[in-house]
Symmetry: C2
Subunit: 682 residues, 2 copies
């Protein structure tokens, strides 16, 4: 049964993990009756262990027997096998019968939709014994080839933990080879999210199963058909560790029946800790597979297992998604170029025009949280002004289609402060909308629409402003050049007691692990350098912030409230910045870049923040995080430091960022001299 979420319409698929399947069709039927959607089953019978070495000799032995048995009927085959087992005394069991069932047992549609294959558990690809290892390799490739022949969705390979294995390198090599040999087949690496400490310490780096996954993923060069099939067993990791797993490409969650307990009515319910984990994982829409360590008789199924499925369906139905999450969903992990940025990257298909589209305006305007803040700031600002003869002059920079103008008019009406508004806008289409909306001046309020075709910095308003109002913050606070634009206007056109809204903007940066986003950048231009030297705007979904964000660049914007600043407004160089930021790494992970956010002080205590979890972020949807990529993943060990040096540079025509990871590894300086991405100064 595919479970459908009652509100979101999302689907959940629940399967069962089986150890032996003597009669495939009956088994499939029985589990489908018990509401299971698919089976995870071994491709070969567990007892079909095979040896391949000395096949040459064995064949010779067999052909000798066969020739002596010449003229007998087909039942001589039995003798052939016996001949095989003679050599087998020295050579191990050699079989020449087919190693597994016929592909005719199910229709190809059934194989594809209802079966996930499993590689035999006896296959130890990293045995310290040459012969065992070589046999294991042959059996492995034989079974994978069978899975490919059946066009199964995936084959599950179990990560070997400890035992007589020397590590995982040969498993990694074999998985890599299988992925290359069968380009349509997915391999799902089955791995527990945590193992008992004694097992872990014996065989794993940091005692951490994630390290094993990471090693194999790296060996396979992050092959797009390699996924995790994670096992939630008795041992459960911390929430942070679970979040790290959730950011990995996983397709399947094995859920042991031991993760359940019986409620007072005798029905199975998930243990609390597993509920928490599963809620985190549901965001990524995995398949679930129930597993039970003891093989169960078919007769138990209709009674017992059905309740597990029903419980999971119920639990899934209760999972919630916030309005912001729903809004962001279609944008998840989709890289966009920052508005107004010129760049040399291959990603020309991104929304890249400095003329914002109508649709984008609509999105920006539909952010009540942002406009509530601006509205509050405007009211407080107007209320604080002395009442005089003069109208309050307000310059709106980047008026768009008038959302801020409307806010000003509303605030002016509420506070009974007459205003004269200069609505400056660069985009001609938006100017048309502004003209249309604000042609009729009233006694109280004037609205003058100004088309700044050559950019805001060239604008020379014909009145000095009491307030400069600006929402061109961009996801990184300063990346739509609010500091430059406001500086240029404020120098000559802000009254001595005038104010800027916002009055201060600070950007923030946090290290990000996201193999998904890294691969997206790689995909643009075949790993072209320019793509890694350009920031993006993206709703980060498959990714994890590895350490709390640090304050990066701070801009005190001119105005009476800010007092004397060290910035000299005449020189554009005053908006250059340099920061060296250090982050402490609490859990090992790979660094793929940095997420950028910002805080803005709009007016006195009215603030805005895009930092996740910060006050003032509830319901804010206008700004997706900024994403600053790096050219290669860097492994960060638990307890270590990550150091980023980042510059905001300017010259007469452009603003750009340069960045460099200097710890734990030295990477090359990114985007020197703005060669790959820069924001033109208009």
């Amino acid at each position: 049964m595919v479970v459908t979420h009652p509100k979101t319409g999302e689907q959940l698929s629940v399967g069962i993990d089986l150890i032996t399947v003597p009669r495939l069709r009956e088994t499939l039927q029985a589990y489908q009756n018990a509401e299971f959607d698919f089976l995870v089953l071994p491709l070969a019978h567990p007892r079909y262990e095979r040896t391949f070495d000395n096949v040459h000799n064995a064949e010779q032995a067999r052909s000798k027997l066969a020739s002596s048995a010449l003229g007998r009927d087909k039942s001589a085959h039995g003798v052939g096998s016996a001949g095989g087992s003679v050599t087998a005394q020295h050579m191990g069991v050699i079989r020449d019968e087919p190693f597994t069932r016929s592909d005719m047992e199910l229709s190809s549609g059934e194989w594809m939709s209802s079966v996930i294959g499993k590689v035999s558990p006896w296959i130890c690809l990293d045995s310290i014994h040459d012969r065992v290892r070589k046999n294991a390799e042959k059996a492995f490739f034989q079974e994978v080839a069978f899975a490919a022949h059946l066009s199964l969705r995936a084959v599950v390979v179990e990560a070997t933990l400890g035992g007589a294995s020397s590590g995982i390198a040969n498993m990694g090599r074999c998985i890599n080879a299988a992925l290359h040999k069968h380009p349509a087949l997915q391999i799902w690496l089955r791995i527990p999210v945590k193992v008992a400490d004694d097992v872990a310490r014996a065989s794993l780096r940091n005692g951490d199963t994630w390290e094993m996954w990471n090693a194999i993923r790296c060996m396979c060069d992050s092959h797009p058909n390699l996924y995790v099939a994670m096992e939630l067993g008795g041992e459960m990791p911390s929430v942070a560790s679970m979040a790290r797993w959730a950011a990995e490409p996983f397709r399947l969650v094995f859920l042991s029946t031991s993760a359940f307990q019986m409620n007072k009515h005798g029905y199975p319910v998930l243990i609390k800790q597993h509920q928490t984990s599963l809620r985190i994982l549901f965001k990524y829409r995995p398949h679930l597979a129930l597993c039970h360590k003891l093989p169960a008789g078919l007769e138990r199924l209709n009674k017992g297992y059905r309740f597990y499925v029903e419980y999971l369906a119920h639990f899934f139905g209760k999972s919630e998604r916030s309005a912001v999450e729903q809004f962001r969903e279609p944008y998840n992990d989709f890289l966009m170029a920052p508005t107004g940025e010129s760049c040399t990257r291959g990603a020309s298909q991104l929304l890249l025009n400095s003329c914002v589209e109508a649709q984008t305006y609509e999105t920006f305007e539909s952010d009540p949280a942002k406009y509530d803040k601006y509205s509050e700031a405007l009211r407080k600002c107007l209320s604080a002004r002395k009442r005089g003869q003069m109208k309050t002059v307000i310059l709106v920079m980047g008026a768009g289609r008038g959302a801020l103008v409307r806010l000003v008019l509303a605030a002016a009406a509420d506070t009974s402060m007459p205003v004269q508004i200069y609505a400056a806008e660069q985009n001609a289409h938006a100017c048309a909308a502004l003209h249309d909306a604000f042609t009729a001046s009233t006694d109280q309020h004037d609205v003058i629409v100004v088309h700044c075709a050559r950019g805001y910095r060239a604008w020379r308003p014909d009145a000095k402003a009491d307030v400069i109002l600006c929402e061109m913050l961009g996801s990184f606070g300063d990346n739509e050049l609010a500091p430059e634009c406001i500086d240029a206007i404020a120098r000559d056109h802000l009254k001595p007691d005038g104010v800027c809204i916002p009055s201060k903007v600070s950007s923030f940066v946090a290290p990000l692990a996201s193999a998904k986003l890294y691969n997206e950048v790689c995909a643009f231009g075949n790993r072209a350098r320019a793509d890694f030297e350009s920031p993006y705007i993206v709703s980060i979904h498959r990714g994890m912030i590895v350490a709390p964000e640090e304050e990066c660049f701070v801009f005190e914007l001119p105005g009476a409230s800010s007092g004397p600043t060290s910035a000299s407004p005449g020189s554009n160089a005053s908006n250059e910045r340099y920061r060296s930021l250090t982050f402490s790494i609490s859990e090992s992970n790979n660094l793929h870049g940095f997420a950028g956010y910002f805080d803005a002080v709009l007016y006195k205590d009215v603030t805005l923040s895009t930092r996740p979890g910060a006050a003032g972020t509830d319901g804010l949807v206008s700004w997706f995080p900024y994403f600053i990529p790096i050219s290669e993943p860097v492994y960060m060990a638990r307890g270590g430091e990550c150091v980023l040096d980042i510059w905001r540079k300017t010259d007469d025509t452009r603003v750009w960022y340069e960045w460099c990871v200097v710890s734990p590894a030295h990477l090359a300086l990114h985007n020197p001299d703005g060669r790959s991405s820069a924001i033109p100064l208009l």
Copy 2:
């Protein structure tokens, strides 16, 4: 004076490092008279410290003064300066006179050949004070631009150690920017090879100045115009550490007069430890620059400094180069494809033909050390045989132009053992030479030339062999497929008491740091993947073996002496191998790949080794090291481990290697399924 080595003809150029140069032409003349070849001198006068900030305001102030002074003559310039210094009370010293001397003081030829520029020492690019840092940046770019204007060979930038600097990131960024801005200019980073421990611990990773160089090099993405100008001062590092410095791209060695002491005749001689260091460095042909902490009057020059130059010329003249070094010199760091390998790499210009060229044969044949060993092995082998009626049958695989055949004949004559030689050769041109040399059979000895056009494995000799003789070892021992070729012949054509020469081959691997070779691989195909997945043959010069070599693959070749082997001769898979090798890193460095060598047991106690420093390597020139590259440099911290997993894989038509670095970082598996390089099985 350019010093010429009396034997090798190499040249040494000695210069002087100066702190102030008030009168450039006289100074140049004086030092040239004292036999110095070039000057290292500051581009600006040390007292010409400049500030650049608020230039805007300062200019305004100046233009006001200038306009008030309108009508005055050019001497008003002084007033303008005074105007500058009025603002300077708040703004620092602002000058508008030229910051340094005229480019006319020397001819452009003299600038280029006799002057290396130095950036002003007060420039602190990583000051923790924003204003100091910004000023420093402007002065830095001003001076670098002047150096580029003069077409100087290079400009020396001094690495800042400790003090009020926050690190080196901004210096790295500025150097990188300068390299990009002036594509023809070289920057030489002046850095002591070792500093006093208290200075080191305060500001350097591992207390090691090499780490600082490495950080800047990495930031600059190993820019080809960035070099080291190393300073040999009072503190000297270990020989291993010196070897590490020597493997870096360095152009200049600053040699302090404090590294000398006076001998009993009152002449300066280098301290022993510095002699050792300089001998290591001479291999790489650096320039030397003498430096003295106290500025010396010109009058001292002709007397004192001249003796230093004369001593250095004398010392240089005594430096020796071994015959093998001289032989290898033209091949140093020149990547070659292994003979007979098919590969998809872009490096098609390499010597890549399976038909070896006449020149190559000549090179191989001119290796007395190798043939002495083979000769000794043959003598011992023939002496040990029982004397009977039958001639001893010797199969020579890869007879080339007959060098081994001649050895056999000589050994047979010496031991009075009649022989019948089958000289098998794949190359038709070499066969012609063989026919020409060995047509006349004697009573004693027969030579039968066999042209194996389809490869040695297809050869079916018409007699069973007593001895199989083979020199197709390749730089990695097994990479010319001696195991496969010998197995194929020995299975049916080696007498039960027959022997193989060699009887055992073992390959060895050691981690290699060589930015030079890494860059060479990058250069082939613009960092194409296939180039990093192909081994090379190369005389490693600018490179350093970071840890002792470990045994890799071992091949016991068939024969009476080796006893029963586990290898089953029928199956080619028996020559597959897998090793996981761990190396301990005693000094931090970058891993760029692995060097490969081999040991061969020719016959009983007669062995051959290409490992540097191993017994039996003296004078051996036939085999340059094997070089197994990796796709990206990996930093290896002192005290850590480097782990390499390496496989020798075979199928019906090819043999190839796969390799993967799993520690200290996980790299992708290289050359999976032999996709980039493989050796065809003929």
